[in-house]
Amino acid sequence: MEYLPNILFAVLLIAGIGYFTRNVKKLRRNIMLGRDIDLSDNKPQRWKNMMRIALGQSKMVVRPIAGLMHIIVYLGFIIINIEVLEIIIDGLLGTHRVFAFMGGFYDFLIASFEILALLVIVAVVVFWLRRNALKLARFVKPEMKGWPKNDANWILYIELILMALFLTMNASDLQLQRMEVAHYTEAGSFPVSQWITPLFEGMSASTVVLIERSAWWLHIAGILFFLNYLYYSKHLHILLAFPNTYFGNLKPKGQFSNNDAVTKEVRLMMDPNADPFAAPAEDATPPDKFGASDVKDLKWVQLLSAYTCTECGRCTSECPANQTGKKLSPRKIMMDTRDRLEEVGRNMDKNKGTFVDDGKQLLDDYITREELWACTSCNACVEACPVSIDPLSIIMDMRQYLVMEQSAAPAELNAMMGNIENNGAPWPFNQMDRLNWASETA
């Protein structure tokens, strides 16, 4: 019986991490459904971007208030997790505050965790108010109704609860240390929780132990729950921001990739010596589908981005189309992509790993044509994204599908393209008149 807590703890830990691993595998499989793209170039620059944008949060401070508070929560989250290491060791070995031998440094660590925990609580409350009381425009757009809104609040509640449990655990521990209860050796310094300790004065040692143990167990259970909550939440960004910024675009934002499959066809058409009846060359795979109508037509990095999206809406609030009341919202483009990808993933789970056609696709069932055609390709969304997501690339791939596979451009654009094809200009002017301006007076 003596080892029961240790065994219980081990079971909890294995279950928590096991389920998380299962979800990570699923995540990887789903992302790999995307088309291939080689991003193994330029490693030093990629590392630098990851350090600067994900670790250094360089894009967050464009909006100073939200940025500063986000850094507090983020630092708090990372640093307080050092404490989790101790908790895991204690839980497995049945020790108590196993790092206490570090003496003064341990006191310093615990004290900093406590101050951070307090700051996190303050930030979380402010974040909650911004979303629910101030109702900042970017948090109340149509795509945020339902789960996305609840998800955002749930994260705040969980963080609040975790911090409260952490402080309660420390406060009761301090009381037990003062009462010199066996096992609770004097360790740590508690600048914040010492203000909670008076609540426990006058209680019996066994009651305080019960409180301390409950807080301890709930805290670690809460952390394991949170770990597994990530996969279903926009909070996945705390992990995926790193690969996503690493694989982020390094080229000028105005450079849209040239479609190689098209290049092959164009070369063939332009080359007067090409023999149309020649045997197909070795790499003559049947022509790809041009552009994207479903998630599998997108590149894997675009799918990674969909899972990375924090739903912060910085993109949407900078979007000229959205600002002027059009349906387009670059955040929704990313959320739709993730939702559809999840749907495809669940379909595969149900059908032993193969996708069975469900008569749905990303285009029309999730993203409408009206949204796609409202984009001005201005790159404001790309510039604004704090985790290097490029919603514009998805919009462009889907337009490519609409035009090249379905000839479904708006009529005015068809007229424009007809003009380019016939006269080399988007307007109906003759190419032979191209230099007339030079001889016109006025």
Binding site: V266, P320, G325, W373, E412, M417, A438
Partner: protein, 259 residues
């Protein structure tokens, strides 16, 4: 106006310093043609040897690509590259940020490798090299706000060259609340120029014009023929065309020089 073409120079065995890529707007749009001429006057004043492709130039393909027609874009690109490579072109300057972006970024992958400059970058260089000088007089103390073209700014990180030129005019440069990296689009990019906007509660160019008007400018400076159209329409919509002029940076400079 005597504008040499590549074909005529080639026949004489001459090679210009730079190809001036005029673009469709610069060739055909009445408003944009004025920008083209202003820029040519500046080139002449600085004694730059340049030429245009004239009737051998064709649409860069930008609107086709942004509309989703990759095939048409690449056909245009490959045709243009063939012409330019035939003349051994090394350096290109253009007053259109869309042509600038496409030639600079998207042509290399299709065999067209040139040094491509936007006209504001080129003009700034001419000033720095002392080939062109500016008297500040005409615009001294005038309030000028600059609208960043998306395809010059965010797309290619060129923010300073146009601003530098405005400052050189001794004008007072006033920034809009959204400028540089956070500049708001005029509404024309991504082939929107050629179609009606989707349903909404406002036109993008009106929103941007309002931002410009907040700075109480005497002049709204543009550096793109499409932005120019959009902002001009916006100013007209606000019935301010009597008080506020929308001008390209090249026009400002050629006016300052009385060209």
């Amino acid at each position: 106006m005597n504008v040499p073409t590549m074909a005529s120079l080639f026949a004489e065995g001459k090679e210009p310093e730079v190809l001036f890529w005029v673009g469709c707007a610069g060739s055909f749009d009445d408003r944009a043609k004025k920008i083209t001429k202003a820029f040519v006057k500046l080139l002449e004043k600085a004694g730059v040897s340049f030429a245009v492709l004239g009737t051998e130039e064709s649409c860069s393909g930008d609107p086709a690509k942004r509309a989703g027609n990759e095939f048409l874009f690449q056909m245009q690109a490959v045709t243009n590259i063939e012409v330019m490579n035939g003349y051994g072109i090394k350096k290109v300057v253009t007053a259109c940020p869309h042509c600038f972006n496409t030639l600079k970024n998207e042509y290399p992958g299709l065999g067209g490798n040139y040094e491509v400059m936007h006209h504001t970058q080129f003009l700034k260089q001419l000033l720095e090299e002392g080939r062109l000088t500016l008297q500040g007089g005409t615009f001294r103390g005038k309030r000028i706000t600059f609208h960043d073209p998306c395809y010059l700014g965010r797309a290619n990180n060129v923010y300073e060259a146009p601003r530098e030129l405005i400052r050189k005019l001794d004008a007072e440069l006033v920034e809009m609340k959204n400028c540089k990296q956070r500049g708001l689009c005029c509404g024309a990019g991504g082939a929107q120029m050629f179609k009606e906007a989707e349903k909404g509660d406002k036109e993008v160019n009106i929103e941007r014009t309002e931002q410009a008007l907040e700075t109480q400018p005497e002049i709204i400076a543009a550096a793109c023929p499409f932005c120019n159209t959009m902002m001009t329409d916006g100013v007209k919509n606000k019935e301010k065309e009597g008080a506020i002029a929308v001008m390209d940076i090249a026009e400002l400079m050629s006016k300052a020089e009385d060209l």
